[in-house]
Amino acid sequence: MKRIDTCGMSCPQPVLMTKKSLEENPEGLDIIVDNNTAKGNVERFLKSAGYKTAVREEDDTFLIEARK
């Protein structure tokens, strides 16, 4: 699964990067975020785009797995 790293990007870049990558990889995506705001924003976007999400906490970051 393709993985993108949004750490350190300010709003709304994490969602924007997710949106762009999903256009190229519509089957799913792994997204690394480094704060709760980005996590919430990305999850909300994925839900509205019709993806199932699972979140794993890894050290200081979160891994969001988005699947069709």
Binding site: M9, P12, V15, L16, K19, D34, N35, N36, R44, S48
Partner: protein, 363 residues
């Protein structure tokens, strides 16, 4: 709906608190104004000498410390920095100049609208137009690059500075400037303003409330979350203004406002565009500053310096209208925004360099 409940309650509380602050002494339609209040602080420490707008506003201190304390408690305090700091500093200056041409930050724009000031409606149109321009560049790959984790101490300094500002306000040493007339002399009691700031700071930290994010996310992603907060502030402060008899519909003779439609529009267009590039409105920059985001601290420092420029160089508007210097400054701000937007948009700049490359290959 459930996920929006929090931000509706927060927006509602902010709308009501803003009206209460006016009732207890703040200038009309200015329960909160991040731009005006930072400008007042710039005046209080003598960065400008406009003697009607000098006061250390405890609301600002409260907003920062409220966000700081809640982020500590929720383990959301992370010290970060290094994402194009000087670009952000100048963007802070630009946003402040735009706000002082209109006479209010996006939050005060909403409060003015809720008080019946129709000039704010023209400002809102400009604000939305500015956000649209910013979004075009976001879609072309605009970003200010990553920030990085830095030492915790760096993030604690700004909250500490705000504690220092509070001590200065309470002890009121003679080297500070406090207005004896004009908007700067009008304020709710310190404890009340501070408490209001703390509550709103915590609410805004919790809900990520952002006045520019509402329209931006709606345009970009059809996401209503932040816009819901924006609307909640408008509705509840409108109701509050009505209840207290503060509501007065019209363009003329609105408190701390002018009727020059074109410059109300352009001033807020600068604020909208600049705030999209910064990743959040002035309120959001303050909240992020409290959470350890030193890029936002730099933006706030830019606003402080921008406020000093605005009054020292006669750029800020007043009830009498816009100044000639302000108009020139606005044009410079637009030029800066255009250049920064273009040069930081990866698709635009990359396309050009790859075109140049393919051209070179053909040759």
């Amino acid at each position: 709906m459930n996920d929006k409940k929090g931000i509706i309650i927060a927006g509602g509380a902010i709308g009501i608190i803003a009206v209460l602050l006016v009732y207890f002494g703040n200038p009309a339609n200015m329960g909160f104004c991040i731009a005006c209040f930072i400008r007042d602080i710039a005046g209080a420490i003598g960065l400008h000498r406009a003697d009607v707008v000098q006061y250390i506003r405890p609301e600002i201190i409260g907003l920062v410390l409220g966000a700081f304390l809640l982020s500590l408690k929720n383990k959301e305090f992370h010290t970060k920095g290094g994402s194009s700091p000087f670009t952000r500093f100048v963007l802070g200056i630009v946003v402040m100049i735009g706000a002082l041409i209109f006479l209010g930050c996006p939050l005060r724009m909403v409060l003015r609208l809720a008080g019946g000031d129709l000039n704010a409606l023209v400002g809102l149109a400009g604000f939305v137009a500015g956000i649209y321009i910013g979004v075009i560049f976001l879609n072309k790959g605009f970003n200010l690059k990553r920030s990085y984790n830095i030492t915790k101490i760096e993030g604690y300094i700004f909250p500490a500075v705000n504690v220092g500002a509070l001590i200065l306000l309470i002890t009121a040493p003679a080297f500070l400037f406090f207005s004896e007339k004009g908007p700067g002399s009008m304020h709710a009691p310190i404890a009340l303003s501070l408490a209001a700031g703390l509550i709103v700071g915590a609410l805004a930290q919790k809900t990520r409330l952002c006045m520019v994010g509402g329209t931006r996310d709606m345009v970009l992603f059809r996401d209503m979350y932040l816009l819901t907060g924006f609307i909640a502030i408008l509705v509840f402060s409108f109701v509050g203004n009505f209840a207290f008899g503060f509501f007065k519909l019209g363009f003329a003779e609105q408190p701390i406002a002018h009727t020059d439609g074109l410059w109300n529009f352009l001033g807020m267009a600068i604020v909208g565009w600049g705030s999209v590039l910064l990743g959040g409105c002035p309120l959001r920059q303050l909240i992020l500053s409290g959470e350890g985001n030193t890029d936002s601290v730099i933006s706030v420092m830019g606003m402080l310096v921008g406020a000093a420029f605005a009054h020292n160089f006669g750029l800020a508007s007043s009830g009498a209208g816009v100044t000639a210097n302000g108009k020139v400054a606005a044009l410079i701000c637009f030029a800066f925004l255009a250049i920064v937007s273009y040069l930081n948009s990866e698709d635009l700049v990359k396309k050009k360099s790859s075109q140049a490359l393919s051209k070179a290959n053909v040759e």
